[in-house]
């Protein structure tokens, strides 16, 4: 391994360690990781049970809504993980020191993305694990399909998260609320809890241009027919490659603009 690669990995590791220290010393932050996914999973579990007891309820597969919620939360937590990891540096007024250190923008991006994966695994993982004792449903039974769904949702979450970070870098903390709001525009469009076919005809092409749509359609197909739709998987991967590339470009442009306008020391003010 070259010296520059080793130092680069060491810097990414340092950022991880900084966030580990932060989590370890703050129980509200740890609780926040698990709290919402678990509460929501319990609520959707009851809803699933209730609908299954109604006439025609057998059409809703066992755990369909729980699975849909957990997958949706992977997307939500992934984008939030990216944004929050960056916001923590703004909250602690630490960005100035980070940007004059040898940490390069692409290393910061790699750190944010990998921290988001770890946060998502922890938060959604606990909720997914608890679904078994609560409702006798295990999302882990999906096996490799779950890995495929997880990866695609994580990638799209990264893309949204990086776009949010770019907006905050450009427009300051006034854009902070995007981290909580932006992702929800995709919930009705991507058919988290219902098939895309139910959307108005004009909205369906938009829906099919978004990677999560293929995941949620694929999930329904997997639960009802026990078949994994490979074509859906590859479409999602392809679209994710496009969205992620665009968000990285957006981040780099925002970074360049922030340097040009002297915003790096002022973000948050």
């Amino acid at each position: 391994m070259s010296r520059s690669l080793r130092l680069s990995l060491l810097r990414i590791y340092a950022i991880h360690k900084r966030h580990y220290y932060l989590l370890r010393g703050s129980w509200p932050r740890i609780a926040e990781l698990f709290y919402w996914p678990t509460v929501q999973m319990i609520m959707w579990g009851f809803m699933n049970q209730y609908l299954m007891q109604r006439p025609g309820g057998e059409l809703i597969g066992t755990g369909m809504l729980i699975a849909a919620f957990l997958l949706w939360d992977i997307l939500f937590r992934s984008q939030l993980g990216v944004s929050l990891a960056f916001f923590e540096e703004i909250y602690s007024r630490n960005l100035g020191y980070l940007f004059v250190s040898p940490l390069r923008p692409h290393e910061l991006v790699c750190s944010l993305l990998s921290i988001a994966v770890l946060r998502t695994l922890l938060g959604v993982g606990v909720a997914a694990w608890l679904a078994t004792p609560f409702y006798g449903f295990s999302i882990f039974d999906m096996g490799w399909a779950l890995v495929a769904f997880f990866s695609n949702l994580i990638f799209f979450g990264w893309a949204i998260g990086l776009a949010v970070v770019a907006m905050v870098m450009r427009y300051g903390m006034g854009a902070e609320s995007l981290a909580w709001a932006l992702v929800f525009i995709f919930a009705p469009i991507t058919g988290v809890y219902y098939p895309v076919a139910i959307l108005p005809a004009w909205l369906q092409p938009i829906s099919w241009s978004l990677p999560p749509t293929y995941v949620f359609e694929g999930l329904r197909e997997l639960i009802t027919t026990h078949q994994f739709n490979t074509a859906h998987f590859f479409y999602a991967v392809l679209l994710n490659a496009v969205y992620l590339s665009l968000s990285i470009i957006l981040f780099m442009i925002a970074f360049r603009i922030a340097r040009k306008h002297g915003l790096l020391l002022q973000i948050g003010e």
């Binding site: 130092l7 060491l10 810097r11 590791y13 340092a14 950022i15 360690k17 900084r18 220290y21 932060l22 010393g25 703050s26 923590e88 540096e89 602690s92 007024r93 630490n94 960005l95 100035g96 020191y97 980070l98 940007f99 004059v100 250190s101 040898p102 940490l103 390069r104 340097r259 040009k260 306008h261 002297g262 790096l264 020391l265």
Partner: protein, 251 residues
């Protein structure tokens, strides 16, 4: 061999229609202690930000430790460091965690030994396991200095290094910085409003006004040139453009 640690050549910076730095040229010798003086809005922060690569100039060239800062700043960033009371360290991390984190960020070899040495030298051992956010202003400044020295920088850029410190802590900081400079032949560039500090520490002063260098010399030479007894009086002459300032500039 590079004799200048910093070289600014015709550096300009404009934000829309506002000119923050209007064609600044100067150099700072390696191993020297220099100060940037100027009133609010004189362009000190913009100048320091450009020096550190946080802001890109509209025009001109900046060389730091012989490296073109605009093209290859990541080659030189591991060799320089920065400290400012307007930038903080993560509040929820202990002093030890903060220093360990930054040591790894700078690729410092033997992190534990380096951190322990700085904790000891800056009298920070008693607060090493305390959260940074719970420290007093003086303790925070010493931690920030420890952070700035982790990579044993050849160039140390300080923005008001002793702002809001009591005289005892401020004196300790100045002595420590001068010892560090002597020991490592490091270059120190500071922006300060503390004229006594500048007189005591700096071999050279660069006075900025409205984004331009209006004068630069050794503190004693400036006192003589302006016919004043303190640097503060010189500063006021420049800021208010008094008769002494006109005479000094040969107007």
């Amino acid at each position: 061999m590079c004799l200048n640690a910093i070289e600014f050549h015709d550096v300009k910076k404009s934000y829309a229609h506002i000119v923050a730095v209007a064609g600044v040229t100067f150099s700072i010798a390696q191993g020297s202690v220099s100060a940037l003086l100027g009133g609010n809005g004189a362009g000190k922060t913009t100048l320091l930000s450009m020096l550190l690569g946080l802001v890109t100039p509209t025009h001109g060239q900046i060389h730091v430790l012989g490296t073109d800062m605009l093209r290859h700043r990541y080659r030189v960033l591991p060799r320089i460091s920065f400290m400012s009371p307007y930038v903080d360290l993560p509040f929820r991390l202990t002093v030890l965690q903060n220093l360990t984190f930054f040591a790894q960020l700078y690729g410092v070899s033997d992190t534990n030994k380096r951190v322990a040495k700085l904790l000891n030298e800056l009298n920070l051992e008693p607060v090493a396991r305390r959260h940074y956010g719970r420290l007093s202003a003086g303790q925070r400044t010493r931690v920030a200095l420890a952070k700035a020295l982790l990579n044993a920088p050849e160039l140390l850029v300080l923005d008001e290094p002793t702002a809001s410190l009591d005289p005892d802590t401020a004196d300790f900081m100045r002595r420590y910085l001068l010892d560090y400079r002597r020991e490592k032949n490091a270059t120190i560039l500071m922006a300060s409003h503390n004229m006594v500090e500048v007189e005591r520490m700096c071999e050279r002063v660069i006075i900025l006004k409205a984004g331009r260098v209006v004068d630069t010399d050794a503190p004693t030479a400036l006192l003589k040139k302006y016919g004043r007894e303190t640097l503060e009086q010189v500063f006021l002459d420049v800021a208010r453009h008094t008769r002494q300032a006109s005479v000094a500039h040969g107007e």
